[in-house]
């Protein structure tokens, strides 16, 4: 087991990126850090190795004395938990070099897809295999994660899209062709310097990208929804970059003959016991602003009767529930801790 020592020691690889920074932000607020049961060990980076952590993340003041090390198996060894916030294609090798009992939680894409052909089509190269999927809200996943020592954290767009559409598909209430248009903040694109992610380009502008089903999160969404529907579900997915740092607002539609009451009942049943998924009361609509920094998923479920269309709007913080929060939630489960420790449903608003 991972937690048979007094202290669980955690490493973060890719600590200078946004996923790594978010994991550290959440760990600094984790109650077991204060109690001494959790310890933050090695923090590693690629090009930023050698720099101080706070030169990269000046918001992580309690770690002001930390220096980023190289991302190598040697430095990551000796930890109970290793979070990976690395470019895709790199986590398999590191995982192979670490002991099987080490809990490895990969925020990258390498081990999310079940179908090797999907991997090759969307990412290229060879598929590294499939790990338990760190979305505890899907049937069966919570149990699987409690036994896992390898966990693939879902993509940010898939997290909200899957949660927004799964109950309707599982209940057979919509046609198996779904459309997702998801507005995201810029942090979802990572921290590499690129001209089209400069503030001057993003502020005051909205733009779609990866239009036409070519975004790599498309097969991940289809995989989970097809499992829910028990038939193949086709997904038209369009991501839109908006001038904000965090947050995803996904508008998810599909044709339906069901009534609003039927659909609401399915969602309330599906998520009634979930600590992080909130089906909003009628008349309320989610805003990304209200989930910033929190692990909540807010869903509004509506039927447009004129158009015969189910419209589910979902909001998450892409860095929290969409990445770092899901990683910590998965860690809590795998370590036998309460799933919600260190995570909040309260956003930082306005």
């Amino acid at each position: 087991m991972h937690n048979d020592r007094m202290t669980t020691k955690v490493a973060v690889a890719g600590a200078s990126g946004y996923a790594g920074g978010e994991i550290l932000r959440l760990l600094l607020g984790h109650p077991r850090l204060r109690s001494g049961e959790l310890e933050i060990g090695a923090l590693t980076a690629g090009g930023n190795a050698g720099a101080t952590l706070t030169s990269q993340h000046p918001h992580l003041l309690p770690l002001a004395d930390r220096v980023l090390e190289e991302t190598t198996p040697e430095i990551l060894a000796g930890h109970d938990v290793v979070f990976l916030g690395l470019p895709h294609g790199t986590s398999g090798e590191i995982a192979d070099a670490l002991p099987p009992a080490t809990l490895i939680i990969d925020c990258g894409a390498d081990h999310r897809l079940q179908n090797a052909q999907d991997w090759t089509d969307y990412y290229g190269g060879e598929h590294a295999g499939t790990w338990p999927y760190g979305l505890p809200e899907l049937p069966g996943n919570r149990v699987a994660l409690r036994d896992a020592s390898r966990i693939a954290v879902p993509g940010c767009y898939p997290t909200v899209s899957i949660l927004a559409l799964r109950p309707a598909l599982a209940a057979g209430l919509i046609e198996p062709q779904v459309t997702v248009v998801a507005v995201s903040g810029a942090s979802g694109a990572g921290r590499s310097p690129k001209v089209d992610l400069l503030a001057s380009e993003v502020i005051g502008s909205a733009r779609a990208y990866a239009v036409g089903g070519v975004h790599r999160h498309t097969p991940e969404i289809a995989q989970a929804l097809s499992a829910a529907a028990e038939i193949p579900v086709s997904v038209s997915f369009t991501p839109v970059l908006a001038p904000m740092a965090r947050g995803i607002l996904a508008t998810c539609t599909a044709r339906t003959a069901a009534s609003a009451a039927e659909v609401r009942a399915a969602y309330e049943k599906a998520y009634g016991d979930e600590p992080f998924v909130h089906v909003l009361p009628e008349g309320m609509l989610p805003t990304t602003g209200s989930v910033i920094g929190g692990n909540a998923v807010q869903l509004a479920v509506t039927v447009d009767e004129r158009a015969g269309t189910l419209v589910v709007v979902g909001a998450i913080d892409n860095l929290t529930k969409g990445t770092g929060g899901a990683a910590v939630q998965s860690m809590n489960l795998a370590l036998g801790w309460d799933e919600t420790e260190g995570l909040s449903t309260v956003g930082v608003a306005p």
Copy 2:
């Protein structure tokens, strides 16, 4: 005719709002203002009557000496052109009180819909009638606008949604059920002070509103698309407010069996001669940032073959092509001037 005098005198009712301000911004750059053929006359307002124009619009420096008057037929009389930027339900009465030869260009919703029941369903009250629709890019409209003395400027969402989907529907290339998810800047919601439009609420947050087909622009979109398809088209429309002042990015989807080449050909044929509608070359995608302040419509046309879906992404400035630019374009046509005078396809970027 409107232009048989030496000087065409223009009034703007509702000059303190965003539509009124945008019309004035464009008129100040109109070549016939400089040449003296165009003259800016009365500027009227409701609650702001008595204030200086630049207390409301400090960007309109050349009109710094102007004071806002009351919006009354008496003050609007004696002008060749009257632009109305008023709340819906008020323009009919003003129009009735002005001479039939006065060119009235209404930026409000009163005279856009053809079906009185649609009006009652979405706006309430009695339908004021239908005026020529100020979207010259629709077949037949350009001719009709040249003879018009009453013009209904389209809604901002309908402008981009209709232009994005009409060619595919007219050519029978998509199913007559369409989905539009359109991200808009806050100026589309007008200038009335409301808590949910405060900067603190909008910055850092995206939210959908009027979800489930209840937005008033829905029947307007359906009306034009059904005319194009020659059968009823159902429209699932979801507007999303994003943290920007201007711009609409509409992601428009429908199921298709057509190839990308067929679809592109239909769009290039439809818009090849249009001065303001640009079908972007393959690989380019529109950004609202590149159309700010200009009258351009940028469209990207894509087919997602896996999902059997046409995806057209369109960008406009909601205040220019979506309101004030369309109003000036319509004025130009109705006065027999070149349609593009005072309007640009160049945006202010970044």
Copy 3:
């Protein structure tokens, strides 16, 4: 004493405003809430009384069942702690109607100033008196707050301005004429709907306001700095509104003949033991983004030798350390708890 019962019951008056919302956000993360030692009682409002709390603050999901009550002494009675987030001029009356032992923490301005003439000059009307000033980082304040049952939370601009300049003045290192230009997010202006606070007006624009020393926080800054210098200090203060929701970045300057080393030494001595004030290492500069949601104050201390000027740049979150965080910090002190409980130096970034 306030904490001689098992549970400390807290009310928030003005719970639908930004100050009230921030206090509740912090209380929801307070460790004594989870342990049952702290209980959230009445939540009151003015015009929003009768609405649910989450209709106003959808980010406060754990309080989704709460309804806002009227702000009356009767409803606020029976609580150990009452936070006031009310317009200025209203807290004195409420305080008078509550028992002397009730800990009242006023986020408004009524009881901050010591000089009645300053109050009259800047706020008008009669001065309500002076309460202990909830800035524990000032000499003597921490002790005073431990005994207090009435606390005036400092203004947001004064908090950062005072902390940025006090050590230099106390050490006699600068001339007693200081200049503060402070950039603030829009939440500092509160939640009342006003045209000039609309997202469309604020996004894409920076503007100074209350220019020429007329901002009401000016005498509050001067009061604390004069006390530090033991001579009157004149303050030129200009607030600037920038397109962000939270955060203040204050650039504070004064003429100096001191060296950078002397000045740094004074600041490090002043704040070396302070849990929330961080004098950044040379070469690092504060960003408001790195303190969002946290109670940290980040200061960079620089001497411009060519211009003979001390430049101290300070960053806080105006709603946390600038309002709600200071309120909770003051509560912790007055209740004899650890000052830092429920407060973090970690910001939510990016």
Copy 4:
């Protein structure tokens, strides 16, 4: 002379940057382009050579057929006007290789400073010499620019800072120690991809940079202000990056014994005939939002009598009046055209 041919042919070197894009945006609206007297010739770039212009500037649709060429003297030869939007240190060599009669307008810093030591201190390397300074609003400059074939466009911060403080210094109304804190949008930092200019880093955050007098625009401000005062003026300059794409708001202060009336009179006299500098009426304050895309400078002049301080707040668009607009204004002057052609005082707001 430059304009003795029928058509003036213009090249832009560094056309893929923000300065180059802004010059092209303005040229596309220049009345002499439409009349055929002005022609846009070679557009060159560094790393982007070979790309289409609209791949870099999708807002410049009328130039959609243009391809970026290499920045070489050969390609720039044969033009009447060459705009340079290049990194500093590179324009001297290009200028030397072009004929003396070619009008070269340099948006870079190479030829702004008169003092070679200042150049070496702030930029390093050898000073390339001094060209006429493209700020026509300074005494004597307008005449000098009419004869110039080499023009140095002022820096963006100096433009607004100098215009904001010069009249008071020239009239001896303030002490010769001035403080400028200027909030700028991100486009002022250029278009090179850097982590700290990513949208995720800039949105939701304000930060000062180059604190302590080390920003390279400091000696440029001091040079012009010292000339105005006829004694050395010390400048404490702090630039602040705010989450917006364009615009500078400069808060400029200095100690004064003068009355508000005296100061206002000096400014009104200085700028009464200037087409682009607007001293706002009392009670109005500038916003960057109201000058976006226009060439206007808005100034508010206030005296804080309590603090004995002059406070002048100035707003410009850093890319228009701060760069590309000044470049076009200078071109107009040097070609003997009306100074205001193609430039507007009307901003794009909201």
